[in-house]
């Protein structure tokens, strides 16, 4: 008992350190990727100067951001204002603990892994509301309120889509869900659920076309208007890390996780497959951002309540019937 406990704790600590390092590197990489993708879609090259292909650009920008003054407006809530960025970032980190990078590389293969991720992602809603309220700024409050409504509305179809997969596997444990896809990926068995998940994931991470809460052209910067320096950097980091988490979850649930196509690993280790698929999904999310204009807020809400939820409910029903019959 003592031995397993000790190695468990060690595993946890080492895992946390790796997660922290990985999330920073990942965020750096994603910011660079976003700027390159945006650039090429817009007929321009994106960052080129700093480092080969502009790779070091994000590091330099990060250094600049850290060096900026943390301006706290006088009328903000003294206690809540600095806490909000931290509140946004912490739950996202926890999600890394259960992601199935490969059969051996799961920090904690909990039997409620999926539940953990979604429970903690709901935390970020609270954090956004805190940030918007503490800013004492009408624009920020509008952005925060919209964000909360949007997040709540799109979590329901998200979870319903996930439930369809869980119904098929009978488990909330990530390693079991991925192992169940060793022959056929669930995207082929549950295409509707997959698409619903991707759409809702885009909405959960406040990405375009669902980026009303931070709509630059309408609300200046939405709920993080009043934040400067590294506090703003934390919001930013949290968004990109969140994007990674939802893509990783989508990969695990629908695209086979660490499995190669149709079970052929082609000699490539599982973690490489996992990362490849995750980053491809992230690329698709970015692609969508730079292509479409954004939805108006009531259209966004209508879309969720009147289209997404009935669709995911119907999908769940059909899945339940099929599972019962088969």
């Amino acid at each position: 008992m003592g031995n397993t406990d000790g190695s468990d704790w060690l595993r946890l600590v080492v895992g946390l350190v790796i997660v922290l390092a990985f999330s920073q590197l990942n965020a750096l990489f994603l910011v660079w990727l976003e700027r390159k993708v945006a650039g090429h879609i817009q007929l321009r090259p994106g960052p080129k100067e700093v480092g080969p292909f502009g790779i070091l650009q994000t590091i330099i920008d990060g250094i600049k951001l850290v060096g900026k003054e943390l301006i706290t407006p006088a009328t903000t809530d003294r206690k809540l204002f600095p806490i909000a960025p931290v509140l946004v970032f912490m739950p996202v980190l926890v999600g890394f603990l259960v992601l199935p990078f490969s059969p051996e590389l799961i920090i904690r293969d909990m039997n409620v892994g999926l539940l953990l991720i979604f429970a903690f992602s709901t935390f970020s809603v609270l954090a956004i509301l805190t940030g918007g309220w503490a800013s004492n700024n009408k624009y920020a409050l509008l952005g925060a309120v919209r964000s909360v409504a949007q997040n709540v509305a799109y979590e329901i179809p998200l979870l319903l889509a996930v439930m369809s997969v869980v119904l098929m596997v009978n488990s909330l444990q990530f390693s079991q869900i991925v192992e169940a896809q060793s022959r056929v990926w669930f995207i082929f068995l549950q295409p509707v659920a997959g698409i619903i998940f991707l759409i809702c994931a885009t909405a959960e991470t406040n990405r375009a076309p669902f980026d009303i809460p931070e709509a630059e052209s309408e609300l200046v910067a939405g709920f993080h208007t009043e934040y400067s320096g590294m506090r703003f950097g934390l919001f930013f980091l949290a968004e990109y890390t969140n994007m990674f988490i939802v893509s990783a979850v989508a990969t695990s649930l629908f695209f086979g996780g660490w499995n190669g196509p149709f079970g052929f690993s082609l000699g490539i280790p599982g973690i490489i497959w996992f990362l490849l698929k995750t980053y491809f999904l992230i690329f698709v999310i970015m692609w969508v951002r730079w292509t479409f204009p954004r939805l108006r807020f009531d259209q966004l809400m209508n879309f969720s309540w009147k289209v997404m939820i009935p669709l995911s409910l119907a999908n769940l029903m059909v899945t339940a019937i099929v599972v019962k019959l088969v």
Binding site: A38, Q42, K138, S217, E218, W290, F292, P293, R294, D298
Partner: protein, 373 residues
């Protein structure tokens, strides 16, 4: 104790300041919005942040000295304003203009109109959240700016049209570049269609949004594409033909509903019609002199006045010049289309949502500096 709770504790309506510094107000516009949740109860535009006193300058400068001022009022259709002012003074003073100059001025004016509409297109879709068409539109617009830069020396504010003609002649390369540009723009229209016009999200953001009825348009003096989207075919190039527009075959696109989507379609089609005018003008351009410089040496119009109205990119612009026989105008009043276009928003914005306000503001295509003068 019960008394103090009879009064409403919170006032439902709050004021939001769509401030002068805002990514979407085109120029320095401030709109004081009274909001009830997301809905606008009252919209009060506050303008004047860009007032530079052009009309006062008009009274203290000679007609020639006022030429640069004209472009700077609406800098996006600078050449059209420059053109209009020159035409107004030529009519007042009776200055003859050679044929070649007329064709050159028409080509350049239509190029300017296209560049203004391209910029509007890019910024409008950007306001709605689609960042990419902005760069495509600016890429096309660079071609126009290069062409006009070659002949006039400026990229944005032109004094190319002078009294009696234009100050530089155009050469064969200008004609080639313009034809190449028209061809390229025509090949881009399907791209814009696929990316924006047929995009479901875009259509949802613009259909039925910001409807201006024909009665409202008449009440507020709305002109230009906004009026044409309501179904009224009022284009100064047809109503009061000036220069040589009566020689060209072009259509005046109109809409039917007066909503943002119709305004969008009208402007896109206008770009196509401008391409047609440019092609016809290039085909028919005669040789000969390009500037009647001698006649315009001393511009001293006889006593009297003139109101000259022409079609700029935003609507009908008018120069009202009162001459006292000297070298300076006695009164130089400019009627700007964005005046009425912005004014109508006080009624149109009532009852809409804040996100729609941005869409409507963008679709109206106001340039605040021309209101401020």
């Amino acid at each position: 104790m019960a008394e103090q709770f009879k009064e409403p504790v919170v006032d439902r309506v709050y004021t939001l300041n769509l401030g002068p510094q805002h990514p979407s107000t085109h120029g320095v516009l401030r709109v004081l919005l009274d909001l009830d949740g997301e809905f606008i109860v009252k919209a009060d535009p506050v303008i004047g942040y860009g007032h530079r006193g052009h009309e006062k300058m008009g009274e203290n400068r000679t007609y020639k000295q006022f030429l640069p001022n004209a472009s700077r009022m609406d800098y996006l259709s600078g050449l059209l304003y420059n053109h209009g002012f020159v035409l107004a003074v030529e009519k007042l003073a009776g200055i003859e203009v050679p044929e070649r100059a007329r064709y050159i001025r028409t080509v350049c004016a239509e190029l300017n109109r296209i560049s203004s509409h391209l910029l509007w297109f890019g910024t409008y879709v950007m306001d709605l959240g689609g960042f990419t068409p902005f760069l495509y539109a600016f890429d096309d617009r660079e071609n126009i700016l290069d062409i006009l830069d070659r002949v006039s020396g400026s990229r944005l504010t032109y004094s190319y049209c002078r009294f009696g003609g234009v100050c530089n002649d155009v050469d064969a390369q200008f004609v080639d570049m313009t034809r190449a540009f028209v061809k390229r723009l025509r090949s881009r229209f399907p791209d814009y269609d696929n990316l924006v016009t047929k995009n479901v999200i875009f259509i949802h953001r613009t259909r039925g949004v910001g409807v201006i009825t024909a009665e409202q348009a008449r009440e507020f003096g709305v002109t230009g594409p906004n009026l044409r989207a309501c179904g009224i075919p009022y284009d100064m190039r047809r109503i009061e033909p000036y220069e040589i527009y009566d020689r060209f075959d072009f259509e005046v696109p109109i809409g039917s509903n007066g909503d943002a989507l119709d305004r969008y379609h009208v402007r896109l089609q206008e770009m196509e019609q401008s391409c047609r005018i440019i092609e016809q003008a290039l085909d028919k351009m005669p040789g000969g002199p390009f500037w009647n410089e001698a006649a315009a040496f001393k511009v001293r119009p006889p006593k009297g006045e003139i109101y000259f109205g022409f079609e700029s990119a935003r609507g009908q612009t008018g120069y009202y010049l009162v001459s006292d026989g000297s070298q300076c105008p006695y009164r130089c009043h400019i009627r700007v289309p964005s005046y009425g276009n912005l004014h109508v928003l006080t009624e149109v914005l009532r009852g809409t949502m804040v996100a729609d306000a941005i869409s409507i503001l963008g679709s109206i295509d106001v340039v605040i500096p021309e209101i401020d003068r």
